[in-house]
Symmetry: C2
Subunit: 475 residues, 2 copies
């Protein structure tokens, strides 16, 4: 990372690292657009009243004040002050309500932007980072098939990012309806309470959760045990999921003709479809994992968390779900389903753990050499001709010794050095190993990686495919 | 603009408007990269001490405070507080100094990011906007040829933007050395003072400026008159510029063998080269305009302002210059030359004055119809096959009547509707004018713009070139 991470939590990349981030952003955007998502960008600021709504994160807001307001910031109530958005969901819901008359629903949107969290500085936590979100928002009913499609789009995007060193990602999906139907079928009524305790499984373990279910949620020992059994259920295909779930229902006396089972069944079918359809992209890319409870008190249908193989410590790198109360105005409701990737953490992982690196620092494919400052125009014209044909070209900073010009190209990773005609051949390359043997009247171009040099016509020469583009590779 | 410009000065685009902004950003980036500029992104925040350095704009800063700090913001000295950057130059100079050991100089960088100005809300002023900058920064000497190249790169970028309705742009260039040499040749010593008065020409006119030159800068009537004559000088080619300037020197007794003339001549030659080389891109794209004085007290060499034909009221849309004191550390100096475009204002102009619009709201080329919800998987697979071949595809939100599905495509501007095989032909299109006459066993695709419909194979079908991509046109 650039030494410029000189303010804790505000990462900044060196040019060669930024190439990786830019490639990641371009790739994710490409996948979103291929899937018909519409790009929007919202302003970086929201009113305090919007930002403070979502209780949980309200402590992580950066508020703004104009320099003139310094000293009397508190004259303005918090609700009316501006703050930086901490996610892209709050802005989306405001945007949808404000522009509802001008949008076509269901509104499928992608958005890749920086977000800010006014956290206390601490190791490894970003206070500024790039998030990539997709959501589908409906005006009225939101068909359940979007709960199937959205995680698949993210799986496609994450699959593309494996070229940059991202390990295999697996989406773990659950469904609020499934859990709720099961709990109700058991006779439990404090559904939010049960979900809250189940969410603690990883931290405090089965026994403690079991005790809490009994003491806090009014569950009997056997009800509590059933809840834990549900949490242990996972499946890689829909058939398996249905079978395991139905077996669990039978074991705990949940009748298949009851209302509770009907509710659970709705969630079960959505979940089974997600798992089966994702197999077409990569078997096992989405698994049903009924332990996933984070946010289930908030989400109203599917919920997703995503983990990277061998990088569990990163936690979930792509999360989301269905929220029927995303936005509303009057009696109009806008339910939504969406997922969000924290890109900066992924880029950091790719760079520092996975060994992703740019093939070159400069986007230029060619550096045009300059023999004499008064011949610079000739070099500029060559560069302009190459650019006109879509070949990125730089011109040497000065008419230094050829060896120095080549070293400049080499430092920037520019693979080709172009020797303009006429003066070519006047000089021996640094170290005397090879010679810029251009004949008067003919340009030559040298691949400084392979050492190959040949005559070249500015109107027809093409770089070798391998060296044509700035790219990212994994070492 | 989206009704969402609900906070004055924070523009937000509707999806179809955002397409234009995105195309503008992509185009500008492409030109920068073709010219070998390296992309970086800096964090949105800088320390108060950096932001407050540049006196002139210090009043337009947004400072940040964490929610927990509300009420005791002033415990932290301004210099240590974080604020949003108001340009991309302050961050660049910090970035270069912090990472100097890891950069290759001369460092040619592009940067397209949002910047924020904590101005009082007023009509037509953006407080958040996108800026696109290019700069070349050197460690030590910065060759003058970069003063020639940088405006030409911007001219190329602006030339590309004409496809989106941008009027012809003309860069007006001047040079600090030229002006200073001329003033000194006249015997004037308060160069900054003279430049400051000359900068008022457009506002208060010749007579007033003349008076001020006499009263404030110790000029005689004839010296003042000579300064005004210099400001009137403009030229579209280098020869003309040299001739006019030398004539003016003779007329005012500035000897060509003096030191002052030598200084002026250095600026004159740079300026002449800029004007002549730009003619290769478009004659008259850069003119020498010796009236340009804004920033000449700050810049140390070339200075640039850019105006749009027929849109003078926008003021300069792309400005910059050479500043030998961009950054320094110890006795190490980093001179730079750069230009900056305020993209948001240009996009606003394109949308609201020039009539630029997206050819479609959705990036999707194809909407795959759905006959029945239980056949959705079939439609999903068709979409997946198209995407695998790089064709952006959406799937119908629901298995509504075909007419409704087509209207959904139409509203989003999606040009093709794909009818999966089997059930095709079951239904008459809305209005009964045409029929989805797909044969059982064969997919069909309909261009809903032309009405043309034909059999199509998901593994080989290609959209007509005209309808293949989301694009921007000018009406």
């Amino acid at each position: 990372m650039a030494k410029g991470a000189s303010i804790s939590g505000f990462p900044e990349w060196l040019p060669q690292e930024r190439v990786v981030e830019q490639c990641v952003i371009d790739t994710v955007r490409k996948v979103f657009e291929l899937n018909g998502f519409i790009g929007i960008e919202t302003r970086a600021v929201e009113e305090g009243s919007s930002l403070l709504k979502k209780g949980e994160t309200s402590k992580e807001i950066y508020l703004l004040s104009r320099l003139q307001e310094v000293g009397h910031e508190s004259d303005t109530p918090l609700e009316e002050r501006l703050g930086l958005h901490f996610d892209l969901t709050v802005p989306l819901s405001r945007y949808v309500v404000e522009n509802s008359g001008k949008l076509t629903f269901p509104f499928k949107r992608w958005q890749i932007q920086k977000v800010w969290r006014g956290e206390r500085p601490q190791e490894g936590r970003f206070r500024e980072f790039v998030q990539a979100d997709i959501d589908v928002v409906s005006d009225g009913d939101l068909p359940e098939h979007y709960e199937v499609e959205l995680p698949l789009v993210m799986v496609s995007a994450l699959e593309e990012l494996r070229a940059f060193g991202l390990p295999k990602a697996t989406v773990h999906a659950n469904n609020r309806k499934l859990s709720e139907g099961f709990y109700r079928g058991l006779g439990l009524t404090d559904v939010e309470g049960v979900l809250r305790e189940i969410d603690k499984l990883d931290k405090i373990g089965d026994d403690e959760v079991c005790k809490l279910l009994v003491s806090e949620c009014g569950a009997s020992q056997s009800q509590a045990k059933a809840c834990l059994e549900l949490a242990e259920l996972s499946a890689e295909d829909g058939g398996q999921l249905r079978e395991k779930f139905d077996r669990l229902c039978s074991a705990h006396g949940i009748a298949q003709d009851g209302e509770a089972y009907a509710l659970a069944k709705q969630g079960l079918e959505t979940l089974a479809t997600i798992v089966d359809e994702s197999a077409a992209i990569r078997p096992g890319s989405v698994i049903a994992d009924l332990k996933i409870a984070r946010g289930l008190d908030y989400y109203t249908g599917s919920v997703y968390e995503t983990f990277l193989e061998g990088a569990q410590s990163l936690g979930s790198i792509c999360s989301g779900g269905r929220y029927d109360n995303l936005a509303s105005r009057g009696n109009r409701k806008y339910p939504g389903v969406g997922l969000s990737i924290g890109l900066s953490r992924l880029v950091s992982y790719m760079l520092h753990t996975a060994g992703a690196r740019a093939t070159r620092v400069s986007p230029a494919t060619v550096l045009v050499a300059v023999w004499n400052e008064h011949d610079r125009l000739q070099s500029n014209r060559i560069a302009a001709s190459l650019r006109a044909r879509g070949i990125s070209a730089d011109v040497s900073p000065d008419a230094a010794k050829l060896g120095k010009q080549i070293r400049y190209a080499d430092k920037l990773g520019i693979p080709y050095v172009w020797f303009p005609a006429e003066q070519a051949g006047d000089e021996t390359l640094d170290g005397g190993q090879s010679t810029a043997s251009g004949k008067a009247g003919g340009d030559e171009v040298k691949n400084i990686v392979t050492g190959e040099q040949c005559a070249a016509d500015v109107d027809s020469w093409l770089p070798d495919e391998t060296y044509a583009r700035q790219d990212v590779i994994v070492e």
